[in-house]
Subunit: 297 residues, 2 copies
């Protein structure tokens, strides 16, 4: 069995794992994201140790962003214009490649998770689907026509604009760029600032969740109409509030109002808007999937 | 030179052409869309006449919808749940195939136009882009990863939800399904109902156009964040108001607020949001492109 290294490179923490798939993770560590030197240094040390024992075939990185995921670009593999201190214009792939001498696959965190879900989770056999994470931010990736979404750069689904119900919700929104974009109204910090409460302390029947389901459903409708995905997978800390799923599904149907006559968004909507098949391991397994797909250098 | 037949099948009129590309259209006719029998009958007669003179290789149909564009489906090639009288559940491809004995390519009107733009127009060399038409309705298609967008069914971009500025614009929206969805706020009939004026009679500096540019820009931002297209091509009757282009481009930049740091949406935005390279011939040439891509039966 070929072994691969995966890095789920988050803005708060890094998770590094060695393995070949969901049933074969040999080792895993996690540590906070500090400076690139220190953080990538930890990762390199971890993989070097393993590589000496059993050679790794490649490394995959599913990274916070914005990133440059275009292999033809001179800044491929960089974290680019992030406001995160120390990380703007960091050559993540170049450093790993130089230190480990291995091929490195690289994409956004959400595209990585999407690839993991496609290989082993809730998106198996689909060619067009979306993976969303709703947590400290709101991000989306996925596939169209059997390949990860890239285009001009990569998707930034959290920054679409949706109707903001100012009567019901005068909160101005969390996003420093756009205020009340989709992320600005729906991410975890927005919930906490709006209700002045830790999200975990809001009871499942608190009105916060009906409002959250409403905003999430508006963005889902925009994704459904713009991309026509065969399934939408939703992970991240906010989605651990499982009561959101039935509320969102009902609201998506109400908003579509029968316009899209497909069983997937009607009787079968329980299988259309779903949690990750890999649970909270979609990210790190996605990084391993990116390693498996890394072209030899 | 192989010859093909193309049908731009609109809800108001059909345009049929015979040729091989933009510089080689041998004949063209147009007639109103009445019943399927009569309308498809006209088309069949036109192509039969040509096929007797010089054999056609295939027919392509770029159709109003909703349609079933999935070749693996038992209702492939149907206009499906349209509210248009007589046309619901019409087997367009089956009738043409039976009458003409030729392979028939089939997709939405906007995916057809997108394919035409990809082959001969403003999307040459791109793999991920969007084609929008703003006229009696608002529809979008395009490509991701070098293939036309399909997924669950086909895109219905006009039915995304955008913020509705009710202070500036109390108009309720035109869409019978959703009221103030993107199409409901932005299509030609919405402009005319809102301002109680024929759109052609609204001067280029009438506030109608600033509002239109604002709504169009909101939807464009949602497409940019959800699909990351390398270019957006906009045709249709409303876009003949060329003053909209610079207004939309400025508004898209204001809404993105520097979040996506790519030259395409900054200094080069004049080449990012553009009219069709094929002008108002994108539809019928797209149908010919669909014919060229029709698999042999």
């Amino acid at each position: 069995m070929s072994l691969f290294g995966g890095i789920e490179a988050g803005g708060t923490k890094f998770v590094c794992a060695v393995g070949s798939g969901p049933d074969d993770i040999r080792d895993e560590i996690r540590f906070p994201t500090t400076t690139p030197e220190e953080t990538l240094g930890h990762a390199i040390k971890f993989f070097r140790k393993h590589h000496r024992q059993t050679p790794l075939q490649a490394i995959g990185v599913a990274s916070f962003g914005p990133v440059d995921p275009n292999p033809a670009s001179p800044t491929f593999g960089y974290v680019t214009t992030t406001p995160k201190p120390h990380w703007a214009h960091t050559d993540v792939v170049g450093r790993l490649r130089a230190a480990l001498g291995l091929p490195v696959g690289f994409d956004t965190d959400v595209n990585g998770a999407a690839l993991g879900e496609h290989r082993w989770g809730a998106a198996q056999g689909l060619d067009t689907f979306v993976y969303l994470t709703v947590g400290t931010g709101l991000g989306g990736g996925g596939m169209a026509n059997g390949k990860l979404l890239h285009g001009l750069m990569h998707t930034e689904m959290g920054h679409m604009r949706i109707p903001h119900d100012r009567t019901r919700d005068p909160y101005k929104g969390w996003c420093t760029y756009h205020g009340d974009c989709w992320e600005g109204l729906s991410c975890g910090p927005a919930i906490e600032e709006r209700w002045q409460t830790n999200a975990r302390d809001l009871a499942p029947d608190h009105p916060a969740w009906a409002l959250e389901a409403h905003y999430l459903a508006l963005g889902l409708v925009n994704i459904i109409t713009t991309l026509s995905p065969q399934r939408i997978i939703m992970g991240g800390g906010v989605m651990d509030q499982h009561q959101l799923f039935p509320m969102m599904r009902r609201e998506v149907q109400a908003l579509l109002n029968g316009y899209i006559q497909k069983p997937e968004v009607a009787a079968q909507i329980d299988q259309y808007i779903v949690p990750p098949g890999l649970g909270n391991r979609a990210g790190v397994l996605g990084a391993i999937a990116l390693a498996q797909d890394a072209p030899a250098t």
